[in-house]
Subunit: 232 residues, 2 copies
Amino acid sequence: MAGELKMEMNEFLPLREVVFNTLRSAILRGTLAPGERLMELTLADRLGVSRTPVREAIRMLEHEGLVIMRPRRGAQVANITVQELNDVLEVRKSLEILAIEKACERMPSADMDEMERAAAAFEELAADDSSDLTALAESDEAFHDFIYRGTGNQRLIRVLANLREQMYRFRVEYLKDEDIRKDLTAEHRAILEAVRKRSAAEAVALISKHIDNQQKAIYDSIQNADKEATRS
Amino acid sequence: MAGELKMEMNEFLPLREVVFNTLRSAILRGTLAPGERLMELTLADRLGVSRTPVREAIRMLEHEGLVIMRPRRGAQVANITVQELNDVLEVRKSLEILAIEKACERMPSADMDEMERAAAAFEELAADDSSDLTALAESDEAFHDFIYRGTGNQRLIRVLANLREQMYRFRVEYLKDEDIRKDLTAEHRAILEAVRKRSAAEAVALISKHIDNQQKAIYDSIQNADKEATRS
DNA sequence: GGCCTGTATTCTGTATACAGTATTATAGTG
DNA sequence: CACTATAATACTGTATACAGAATACAGGCC
């Protein structure tokens, strides 16, 4: 917890964004553990900025659901419960289905070619055992972003992006397994084909399966984590 | 636009909340017009507070979608386009359907009795021509809140509440028509019965209709508003 | 020994000050 | 008269200061 917070420098971004990104990735990679208190002055000192941008960054994190705030008591890293995970996944599944339906209707054919390239890029990374899991996760997200964007619904894009963030902490876990990675590439291919055919029914079935698999993988990884925690 | 911003005083609420509520209702009731710039110092002076809580309140409004911010240029009251309204309603309909399904599964019978009372309260207000439309709108929302809560999904509750907020500016309009009010009470009754029977399919059909009607009513009221604007 | 109370300390909430960027107004030039 | 350059202004972004609430700890009391 005395982990080194390295500012993700970027000359021309507002400080609050830089602080936000820094804290966010610290939470997601566990440098800031769930339940840990986030004190404005401490963080400000450690990051070499004043309290103001830290404060604003913490408020942004609260909206992402990564931090919870209690009035006059400050913020602490959110401790995601299984219940909350279920809640998020329930909403997310419903919206992923909406998204793929609308994408089947509305996505321009040209964008499908780009989507294909995204799928190919993911496959390449997934096949390489040595590749960085974070990069792999980002590539997976890039693929799904094409579906989101295909809906042409800005609000839907925003809500889905936010819901996905809630699960960042688990996303890397389920990519470790090589079998899962293989399944994922196959699923991506199938989804892509369904969208190309503009067959909403088929695409919905596929994406439902895709989410269910992901959900199951996350639960498994939580189980394992619990077991390990018990052992030690 | 030099409208009087009266602070909604509340001794023990943080100032940012008070400012947030004040600005929010000013936007929703049109005291602050769409497109109008929100300048921190000006607002702070007018409300008799410093820039800090104003700043935080504006950030909160941004998340509600009532305000848009451009870096280094400040904030202005969001100008909702028909496109955005469509986007919100598309997402909202999908989640209202999810909500009623889950409510049919999960709502405790005891809560259904409370829901019935909420429906009755709405009917009473709706029947009285002289009643306050804002109060009526709130009563309508209270009814729907029971559905949301019946899902037991905290995240779903939050997302739906936020989406509903986006349409506050229009909500009063479509309650003015007495025929619509009558339809609404009938629809509420029917929904309630379907939930009591735990008949998800029926309830979904009803709520879809309910949302579609609302959507149509809002479009009509926009049309009328546009016509009036053209006339003058 | 356990509980309560008073005090010290730490932290948030709010106000204010300062710096630097956008925007607007003004003057000068072709 | 238009158009550019420059200066003034107005605002946000960031830092800092101050006040009061929450917490922790110590000492007294039962």
